[in-house]
């Protein structure tokens, strides 16, 4: 099995929100890296998970599938999932796969944080 080409960094940005900085390629092989980052954020007490895609290099359909399963876990835990930093190209892909129906998409971290606390 190929190695994941994805790195994450978890930042606590307020009492109840964590940003997961995503860097690299979001593919099927990134599942463990993403899950570990999510668990770290949850252990830190986050009720809002914000994915920062500013340094996303590539995402295929399996990567989109990972986001769907992450979203289900987040909804089950009564948390919220927001994103920012998606390029126009990936915003289109969220539209195509209809992820934008369920995941908040923002341009900047400030906008996502404001929405998190609205």
């Amino acid at each position: 099995m190929p190695q994941p080409q994805l790195a994450t960094n978890v930042r606590k940005v307020s009492d109840d929100a964590c940003v997961l900085d995503i860097e690299g390629e979001m593919t099927a092989f990134a599942e463990k890296v993403l899950t570990d980052a999510y668990n770290l954020a949850t252990d830190d007490g986050a009720r809002v998970i914000i994915l920062n895609f500013e340094n996303l290099q590539y995402m295929n359909s399996s990567g989109i599938g990972l986001l769907v399963t992450l979203l289900v876990r987040i909804n089950r835990a009564k948390q919220r999932l927001l994103t920012y930093g998606l390029s126009d190209h990936y915003k289109h892909i969220f539209e195509l796969t209809r992820l934008n129906d369920a995941i908040g998409i923002f341009d900047t971290e400030d906008q996502a944080l404001n929405a998190a606390h609205a």
């Binding site: 599938g65 979203l71 089950r76 796969t97």
Partner: protein, 253 residues
């Protein structure tokens, strides 16, 4: 038949362009074309039933074929790997991003009592994978990713379905009328056929995971687009429509 130029061009990254409504570029001879044209795509978030992730894999021994060779052959021969008796009408331009395929299936209907017409769109395609996403009314709402990758033993070939039954009727069929088993059979047959194409006889490993047990009652109204109901109505009414047209035409003559 609609103009071929209506098909969205694939993006360089392998993704199709977003489309508010599905458009067919070509209706093959003999295909029943219902429940596809003008429909929206429908992903795993838009369905009604519990969310399932089903993974079917088969291994090809080292040296049999590279992941790129497997996926290339898979795309080229996709309709031949489909379950016998059902029809997958591949787009003329091939399984490229933005292309739409028609499916005429009896297997998807409990008891095979009638032919179901539905469709899928290629939303993603690269050298080692491609993904088909369903349209509104399809038995399930979601997508299937077909891929191949190298592992220690050789090349692993995989079909992974992420889906919810589209509406309460399909959910009933999935749970109580063997819908899930039929789906397993479809993809197990497909993977066996891919392996056989490369001269390998191998069992298909199946892994089923319930990602979300909840029913999405807010999506119960998806039944309005149910392709089974609509195909059934069409097939019931169609002989009368043809008969009436024939009578009118003979009167005019």
């Amino acid at each position: 038949m609609t103009d071929q130029t209506e098909v969205s061009p694939p993006t360089p990254s392998g993704w199709a362009e977003p489309t508010p409504k599905v458009r067919l570029s070509h209706v093959p001879e003999g295909a029943m074309n219902l429940n596809v044209e003008g429909r929206q795509l429908s992903g795993p978030l838009q369905g009604f039933g519990p969310m399932w992730q089903k993974t079917y894999t088969v291994s090809l021994p080292e040296g049999t074929a590279s992941p790129e060779e497997v996926v290339s052959a898979w795309k080229e021969n996709f309709k031949d790997f489909w379950l016998p008796g059902d029809h997958f009408y591949a787009p003329l331009a091939g399984l490229n991003p933005g292309e739409v395929a028609l499916i005429n299936s009896r297997e998807s209907v409990p008891g095979g009592l009638m032919k179901l017409s539905t469709g899928v769109m290629v939303v993603y395609s690269d050298e080692t994978s491609f993904t088909l996403m369903t349209t509104q009314g399809h038995p399930f709402s979601g997508w299937v990713t077909f891929s191949a990758f190298e592992d220690e033993a050789g090349t692993k070939v995989q079909a992974q379905v992420l889906m919810r039954a589209n509406d309460p009727m399909w959910e009933f069929g999935m749970r109580f009328l063997g819908g899930h088993k039929t789906e397993d059979r479809i993809w197990q047959h497909t993977l066996s056929s891919v392996a056989a194409h490369f001269g390998v006889q191998s069992d298909v490993a199946t892994e089923i995971l319930c990602v979300d047990k909840k029913l999405q009652w807010g999506r119960a109204r998806n039944i309005w687009h149910n392709a089974g109901i609509r195909s059934g109505l069409y097939l019931t009414v169609y002989p009368f429509v043809r008969f009436r047209a024939a009578v009118r035409s003979s009167r005019r003559a």
